[in-house]
């Protein structure tokens, strides 16, 4: 347990499948750690308040807003960012207008791919409800929803 003012905290965690050890400032957010210290700029900052979802990453397999996660809280845990996703899996989104300006896109894709991996959640939730934590200003959401529905159909077929 660290104690003194502004002392950096040494943490070890798994990042995109790789063991990672780094020292973080107590006030550092996971988003800052990823973007500015670890060079993983795929995760974006849109609001700093957990409203827009552009900063979505997986923490122990669940989607979270990394702007609201203190960096030291990921010690001992699994963190996955957009950089860990297989680009081959993006075909449906590409074909259906899921992205326009791209600023919300990494967050959208993270949540969308989580839905694709956990389709049982669709027994109780609609895609729109599950995506409601990812704000988009360009698409009006149709391109996003259609991309996800296309990806889900493929999963069923495949």
């Amino acid at each position: 347990m660290s104690g003194r003012r502004n002392d950096p905290i040494r943490i070890s965690f798994t990042l995109n499948g790789e063991p990672t050890t780094v020292e973080v400032s107590p006030w550092e957010r996971l988003l800052d750690l990823l973007r500015y210290r670890l060079g993983l700029t795929g995760t974006k900052e849109g609001c700093a308040e957990g409203e827009c979802g552009a900063c979505t990453v997986y923490l122990d397999g669940l989607p979270v807003d990394s702007c609201l996660v203190p960096a030291y809280q990921v010690r001992g845990r699994l963190v996955e960012t957009i950089e860990s996703l297989d680009p081959e899996g993006m075909a449906h989104y590409h074909a259906r207008g899921t992205t326009q300006c791209g600023a919300c896109t990494p967050g959208v894709v993270m949540t969308a791919e989580w839905i694709r991996r956990h389709p049982n959640r669709l027994e109780t939730h609609t895609v729109r409800e599950l995506m409601a934590g990812n704000l988009c200003r360009c698409t009006g959401y149709d391109g996003i929803i259609e991309g996800i529905e296309g990806a889900l159909e493929d999963r069923e077929a495949g």
Binding site: E49, G97, R137, G140
Partner: protein, 738 residues
């Protein structure tokens, strides 16, 4: 063709300005005025900070004119001792640590001797509030056709209405941001923007530098919608000033709150209609007054007002029209470009008013529109003869058919009488939007574009147009590929870098596909000529072109092969700028929206159940991209109508967070159904007309017309929040609400 940069965006590899790898740089921060008006009497730097660690820039550090040049030089880059709006930039700070820079912002106090601010654009300003000219009128414009006063006097029925719209923030998901650094003697600016050459033009007089000494490069831009048309010049100038003083790269990225409260927004408006009609609903006279809040500095206000009045009478024919427009100076944060640019305001009023007229006449609002919709051969308010062959009634009828308008209307009538608290309604709007710059604006822009053939036969388009999600890159590649007969994979778009690309004009005004796209085609033709070929034909033409380019390079080693094009106005456009008469636009896009809503009388919440949009944008160049533009524009229009409200206090926006400046989530919108009806425009690329703004223009009135149908009341103001709807409906129990 799929979006060229789509995979890069989907995998998170696309690099926006804040993603660029950078070492040894400073973070910029902006110190702003706390007051809406007054003289700066002191600036106090707190004791708890080592200010020697900071680079500090004030107005005395500006080498040239202290102005962010746009239409005029009225807006200071940094307040020189007098402030005219809350959040006006006063000082710039830079520090290697972003955290320290943020803390420091709290430690600088700008002391203002406050004077009474003018904050209500609708009220006639008292003498102590006059700060512009004699009457605070930033701009006056008028359009006159026929004799409105006489016609009104002779009208059997006159219907009046006053309609108000509020400010709207762009909420592009990537905030404003710029990076500035010196490369030898050249000041390089990289960042999020729509118009690199606007930035150059603003930086030149302020920094006393030539175009060779300023290099502006657009980085991938996470949304613009007009919010990055003019404002980036301010951010760029600030970053540039800091970089020049520090001689070290400076990155200036706005926080979301800062972006929400301190940047430009859509102009608020109040529009009065006085309309004379006969018993059959034919329009006899339209007397319209458009008043806009012009904010504290001019920005593009005169052009917004211009577009508003040109469209204010709607797409109807009327022999007697008078439109008076006025933009008022206030001590509000300046307003600026936002998708639609005055036309959404104009059409909210006129399309709401048409339903109000129909209600008064006890006639079907669809019929009212049908009777009055402008036919080919008739003239608009400016006297422009419409003769584009577009079947506007077909567009409207198609929207009505797709939305099952008549059947649903009847169903709602029954259903509403049966349900305890849910009321459904369906409403429509018919509207239009002039594509490109008004009148001779495109001639003034004098856009240029190059297409380069490389030694390996590949081709690159060089222009200042910017991709901000609308699909510009993909469309231009398509157009070039089609024109040359090339495989699109052999064509690329150059990074918009003012040292490499010519000025093809700003990426605004629904001009990119239509106007600049046409330049792409013509430059491709010129490329072929330069390579010694007749203009390329498709089918095997591509192979010939490629061979010719490669051969040319063999014969001219080390030289560049460029095809060039320069804007040429279509024939027959005559516009009288002084009297606002004639051909306002070379082409119009026409559309109809139908919205179905459900009003919950328990909560006064309005839910949009279904939305249909039928658009004529000439030739549709790319179905997926075009549909995306329409859906996105509709979403922004619905949101402006129901959700987005700037809460003002003493000239400052109080709700500067995404938790309380509300845009829709995926759960707040229905699927938006889009269909295109194509009436190609011969002077647009492959027959395309403008698309970007049109869809937003008619969304708000369609939604509110549906709410009126659902509730039997006539809303006149947006945003129509539940709180406002509650007041509008009064204290009716559901049975009485109809």
């Amino acid at each position: 063709m799929l979006r060229r940069e789509g995979l890069s965006k989907l995998t998170g590899r696309e690099r926006y300005v804040d993603d660029l790898p950078l070492e040894d740089f400073l973070w910029g921060a902006t110190v702003r005025s706390p007051a809406a008006r007054g003289r700066i009497s002191d600036i106090i730097f707190g004791d708890g900070v080592d200010w020697s660690e900071f680079v500090i820039v004030d107005h005395t550090d500006i080498p040239g004119r202290n102005a962010v040049y746009l239409m005029e030089y009225d807006q200071p880059a940094l307040a020189p001792g007098y402030v005219r709006h809350v959040h006006e930039p006063v000082l710039l700070l830079a520090h290697p640590s972003r955290e320290v820079a943020r803390r420091a912002l709290r430690e600088v106090q700008v002391i203002v001797d406050v004077e009474p601010p003018a904050l209500d654009f609708r009220a006639l300003p008292g003498p102590d509030l006059i700060q512009y000219g004699e009457d605070n009128v930033l701009k006056r414009l008028s359009i006159q056709k026929g004799d409105v006063e006489r016609a009104l006097a002779e009208s059997p029925i006159v219907v009046e209405g006053v309609y108000e719209t509020g400010a709207q923030e762009h909420v592009y998901l990537e905030t404003q941001g710029m990076l500035a650094y010196l490369d030898d003697d050249v000041l390089v600016i990289k960042g999020s923007m729509q118009c690199p050459y606007y930035v150059v033009k603003a930086l030149k007089p302020a920094l006393n530098r030539s175009e060779e000494e300023i290099r502006v490069i657009q980085t991938p831009t996470g949304g613009g919608f007009g919010g990055k048309e003019e404002f980036p010049s301010m951010v760029a100038l600030h970053a540039g000033l800091l970089a020049l003083k520090s001689r070290v790269p400076v990155k200036l990225i706005y926080d979301r709150t800062e972006d929400l409260v301190a940047t430009t927004k859509r102009h608020p408006s109040q529009i009065r209609h006085r309309t004379g009609v006969d018993e059959n609903g034919r329009l006899i006279a339209q007397d319209i007054e458009v008043v806009m809040d012009g904010g504290a500095y001019l920005t593009l206000t005169p052009v917004v007002l211009s577009r508003a009045i040109i469209h204010a009478a709607g797409l109807y024919h009327c022999d007697n029209v008078r439109i008076l427009g006025r933009a008022m100076f206030t001590n509000s944060v300046p307003f600026g470009a936002f998708r639609g640019f005055g036309n959404p305001q104009a059409h909210f009023a006129v399309e709401r008013h048409m339903d109000v007229i129909a209600d008064r006449l006890r006639m079907d609002s669809v019929e009212l529109r049908r009777i009055n919709m402008i036919r080919d051969g008739q003239t608009t308010a400016t006297g422009q003869v419409i003769r584009d062959g577009v079947d506007r009634l077909q567009i409207m009828d198609r929207a009505l058919a797709l939305s099952d308008y008549e059947r649903r209307r009847r169903e709602h009538w029954v259903r509403n009488s049966e349900h305890r608290y849910l009321r459904r309604g369906i409403g429509m709007a018919a509207f239009y939007h002039g594509a490109g710059f008004t009148g001779s604006g495109e001639v003034v822009l004098d856009s240029r574009l190059h297409v380069e053939g490389h030694p390996d036969g590949k081709v690159q388009v060089l222009c200042a147009s910017t991709e901000m999600g609308q699909g510009q890159i993909t469309i231009f590649i398509q157009l070039a590929a089609d024109r040359l007969g090339y495989d699109p994979a052999e064509i690329s778009i150059a990074e918009p870098d003012t040292h490499r690309v010519p000025d093809s004009g700003p990426t605004v005004g629904s001009r990119t596909a239509m106007v600049v796209g046409r330049l792409v085609e013509r430059a491709c033709d010129d490329l072929c000529r330069q390579a010694g070929l007749e203009i390329a034909v498709k089918a095997n033409g591509g192979a010939l072109v490629k061979e010719a380019i490669i051969a040319w390079h063999s014969a001219h080693p080390g030289e560049r092969l460029l095809g060039k094009a320069r804007y040429e106005p279509p024939p027959g456009i005559e516009w009288d700028e002084e009297n606002y008469l004639g051909d306002a636009y070379g082409a119009f896009g026409w559309a109809a929206h139908v919205a179905e809503v459900e009003v919950d009388l328990r909560t006064y919440d309005v839910r949009v159940l279904d939305f249909v949009s039928v658009q004529d944008v000439g030739t549709v160049l790319n179905e997926t991209l075009a549909r995306g533009q329409v859906q996105g524009g509709v979403a922004q229009g619905i949101s402006w109508a129901l959700l987005e409200e700037c809460v003002w206090k003493d000239g400052a926006m109080e709700n500067g967070q995404l938790t309380n400046y509300i845009i829709p989530t995926s759960g707040d919108l229905p699927p938006i159904r889009v269909e295109f009806v194509e009436f190609p425009y011969e002077h647009g690329a492959q027959g395309a007309k403008g698309i970007g703004e049109l869809p937003l223009v008619g969304a708000a009135p369609a939604v509110l017309n549906a709410v009126a149908a659902a509730t039997g009341r006539q809303p006149t103001e947006i945003p129509l929040t539940p709180e406002r709807l509650m007041v509008l409906l009064g204290s009716h129990a559901p049975g009485e609400a109809r």
